[in-house]
């Protein structure tokens, strides 16, 4: 004997999308921060003037930004570049 016909639930029981999404975002952020910190800790190169001053114990006289590449110095000296 069937009391009533089965019906569709109002919302999906599993997976819980919002919680899964938030957990993924949080976990991803933690992993990304960890990876960035690990890479920074393993990087043996200078990237800022503060690092230079601290690690070498020298005054930083100047700090020049990266600029578009220039002609080779041999050509500059000959005035042969366009």
């Amino acid at each position: 004997m069937m009391i009533s016909a089965p019906t569709q639930p109002y919302k999906t029981a599993r997976p819980r999308k919002l919680i899964t999404l938030l957990a993924c975002m949080f976990g991803g952020a933690i992993l990304a921060a960890g990876a960035a910190l690990l890479r920074e800790a393993q990087d043996d190169r200078f990237s800022s003037a503060e690092q230079v001053a601290y690690l070498l114990d020298l005054p930083v006289l100047a700090s020049f930004e990266k600029r578009p590449s220039r002609p080779p110095l041999e050509l500059i000296a000959f005035g042969g570049h366009e």
């Binding site: 043996d44 190169r45 200078f46 070498l56 110095l73 041999e74 500059i76 000959f78």
Partner: protein, 236 residues
């Protein structure tokens, strides 16, 4: 070891250079975005730090490969001569040649280029008191005392003719010239290539320079990159 020949006459001495005779003139194109103010400040900082009564001899030495030391030396020299009216000589110790143009120095009937053309030893930038010379043949493969004294002798002579002599040795991790020159110059400037120079190399070079007994004026960071976007930097 071959001495630098500053004049067209093989037996001429530095006196000709003082008299203004130069081997060749060249045009010098200046990048539009050259940080002239920073370069002048750098020149003045070096000059005031060493405070020599004669011309100052400094070397820009890089701990690792890269064009930073040569570019900064030339840019600073150009800024000093063009804005401050100084007279500067830049000595190139790197493997690239600035003063010899191969196509012009091949003699008729020869199919090879002489390693040290007497007609290409000195270049003067047209309209400015900026001179460049190569010094590849100055140093040999040993660190003999006589060699040091000869290099020092050359530099002492140049001091009388120039406000500043800037030496650009090859990177310290590939050639000992910088360590040799450290004893012959008034001071050294350590050039760090951002994102390239290893901290261990720079620290080792600093220790080597310290042992030379001459002052390390400071460090210069080259090719610094801004990892923070400009719009974010303005917000911060």
């Amino acid at each position: 070891m071959k001495k630098l020949n500053f004049a067209q006459d093989d037996y001429a001495d530095l006196g000709l250079l003082r008299a203004g005779l130069a081997t060749r003139e060249t045009e010098w194109e200046v990048p539009e975005d050259l940080a002239v103010v920073d370069l002048i400040e750098l020149y003045l900082e070096i000059e005031s730090s060493l405070a020599m009564e004669r011309g100052t001899v400094v070397q820009f030495i890089g701990a690792s490969g890269g064009p930073g030391s040569a570019l900064i030396a030339l840019d600073m020299a150009w800024a000093a001569v063009s804005v401050l009216g100084k007279k500067v000589l830049v000595l190139n110790g790197t493997r690239s040649r600035w003063t010899m143009e191969a196509s012009r120095t091949v003699a008729e009937g020869e199919d090879s280029v002489h390693p040290m053309s007497t007609h290409g030893d000195l270049v003067k930038v047209a309209g400015h008191e900026l001179y460049m010379a190569d010094m590849q043949n100055w140093h040999g493969k040993t660190l003999s005392r006589s060699k040091n004294e000869e290099i020092s002798g050359h530099l002492r002579e140049f001091c009388l003719a120039f406000d500043m002599v800037v030496v650009v040795p090859p990177p310290a991790d590939s050639d000992p010239l910088g360590a040799i020159m450290a004893r012959c110059v008034d001071g050294s400037i350590l050039v760090i290539e951002a994102e390239h120079t290893r901290r261990s190399s720079a620290i080792r070079l600093r220790e080597i320079l310290s042992r030379s007994g001459r002052p390390i004026v400071g460090a210069v960071l080259h090719d610094r990159q801004n990892h923070i976007p400009p719009w974010l930097a303005t917000m911060m």
